[in-house]
Symmetry: C2
Subunit: 332 residues, 2 copies
């Protein structure tokens, strides 16, 4: 900037004015500055600018999700990026991998980068440590999972209600024995989905049988054994409800291997690519992931723009996508 000022024969301050598009600059000087900046390929230094600005804005936000390589996180990231781009805001991304340690490390890193705000799908269950940050003016929006011990905006999908409707859908086809496969119970959405399952059974007067409820499953492979065990038991389920993407894929695979894909009904939580091309096509609860990301971004930027209204909680509705696997009647 010093060099630009020298070349354009104006003061530093005038260069600063031109760069920041302040209106009160003589057009001739503006032209001279722009030319000089062009010639020197001058690029303003965001960091130095943020350091001195009174609002301290870095025009950078953090997006901390479970795993940027999984389709759910990737879609949220992209939806946020879209909104951020419109405001020329850069995005620092990070994957938490269900680790509280990484959550701490990455939020610390965000704070050292002096981001204006953070969108987070948390791994930990105690967020009071973010309180200082919030008070220091960093906006936080929780997405997919609510904050614990911290008042902050959140964008969630209706896991419990949507799960209940999905299981009721199975019940409406005559199923009374519905197996449940769910993720780790440390994950709030997994708990919600399990509750929705229980709600549906209760509403239909079906007793909950813990021997066909499996939680704490995390991968496609972990599902295989569980499904095989359930199916080969004395009193196997006639339908399955899977609480997550990868678990659904695992169940599809195992049912196929057992040759039971047309005998045992299946409804999964979370849609996935090609679900409609499998045999049978898989009925799922589809979350509106793009809306979740977009909503979270809008909330965040509202806060960054100074919205001090009380904490908001946005629930994004999910819908049941009927394709075939969930409409198989019970075998007996």
């Amino acid at each position: 900037m010093k060099d630009v000022a020298a070349l354009a024969k104006v003061s530093l301050k005038t260069v600063s004015r031109v760069i920041n598009n302040e209106p009160t600059v003589n057009p001739e000087l503006t032209a001279r500055v722009r030319l000089a900046a062009e010639q020197l390929r001058y690029q303003p230094n965001f960091g130095a600018s943020a350091l001195r600005r009174s609002d301290g804005r870095s025009s950078t936000i953090g997006v901390l999700l479970e795993d940027l390589s999984n389709p759910f996180s990737a879609t949220i990231y992209r939806a946020v990026e879209e909104v951020a781009t419109l405001r020329s805001v850069s995005v620092l991304g990070g994957s938490l991998d269900e680790s509280s340690q990484r959550e701490h490390d990455l939020t610390t890193s965000m704070s050292r980068h002096r981001v204006d705000g953070v969108i987070i799908a948390p791994a930990s269950h105690d967020h009071h440590y973010l309180r200082q940050e919030q008070e220091a003016g960093v906006a936080f929006v929780f997405v997919d999972r609510p904050p614990s011990l911290l008042a902050a905006d959140q964008v969630l999908s209706d896991c419990r209600g949507a799960s209940q409707r999905a299981v009721e859908h199975l019940i409406s086809f005559g199923h009374k024995r519905i197996g449940y496969l769910g993720d780790a119970t440390t994950i709030s959405t997994a708990v919600e989905r399990n509750l929705g399952y229980a709600d549906a059974l209760k509403a239909a007067g079906i007793p909950l049988d813990p021997s066909i409820v499996f939680q704490g499953l995390r991968t496609i492979d972990s599902v295989h054994e569980v499904v095989a065990t359930m199916i080969q038991s004395d009193n196997p389920p006639t339908a399955l409800f899977t609480g997550q993407n990868l678990l659904t894929m695992g169940a599809v695979r195992e049912l196929r291997e057992l040759g039971l894909q047309h005998e045992i009904a299946l409804v999964g939580f979370d849609d996935f690519l090609m679900a409609d091309l499998l045999d049978p096509p898989v009925t799922v609860v589809a979350q509106d992931v793009v809306s979740m990301g977009r909503e979270a971004a809008h909330l965040l930027f509202d806060r960054i723009d100074g919205d001090r209204s009380e904490v908001r909680c946005v629930i994004v509705p999910s819908r049941l996508v009927v394709r075939g696997s969930g409409e198989i009647p019970p075998r007996y």
Copy 2:
């Protein structure tokens, strides 16, 4: 930092030494500084630190890919993040969407953030504009697609050779009439894959028939019409080679709709989730995307660490995954 120094009753410089883990500090002072920092919840300011440091390092890199919500880009991002995390480096992510404009905007933004390096899967075909940046010390590594008019490290997958082998695989089952579906010819990998297709035909002495070669396809939907037209022509292909993920899925869907999924052979470039569970399971060329991301990250950090050796080009091998759809013999 000023406050920490005051509370610990030491100079600014001593706080700076403790924060940066310089060894030459009296343990007692170190303890006092740490305590004060703890009490004040002091977080060092990366930006201010980078501004003054002699090496100017920001401990931030940029990762600019086609679309962070697609599995290929997301996997690369994640692999890079993994390596960056080990070095406590933050990652600014961006999606280019095949737009040269966005490529310019985002590289400019990276440069204003004073990133130490950029990993990029470019959209444009002229990268000489990055020359200044390079000379200013910013490392660039191109991934998936080579740079044009710029000398820079690159990590590519063996598109041409792998495509040739895939088409030869079809030929080995007796196919002589193999349709080609490919992405926009402005994308270098799409061109390479098409060349591999042509190589295989040539090596087998099969004339290339332009009436069954379709390029410039970008989405699942765009494929439907093309496949239908080819199949319903007087002289339809007995096999298809699809040059990309989404095109393969589109072809699977259309063949299924035409009821020809067991009649017409199909090999796709790029693996995808559930490909093995379709009927028939889909034979694909699987790129080692994680290795590509990891290699790119290692190259980048080598450069950031001062490696000034000549430009490197890493080719990551792909492999043919035989599953069923590619082993269907010709109908006639």
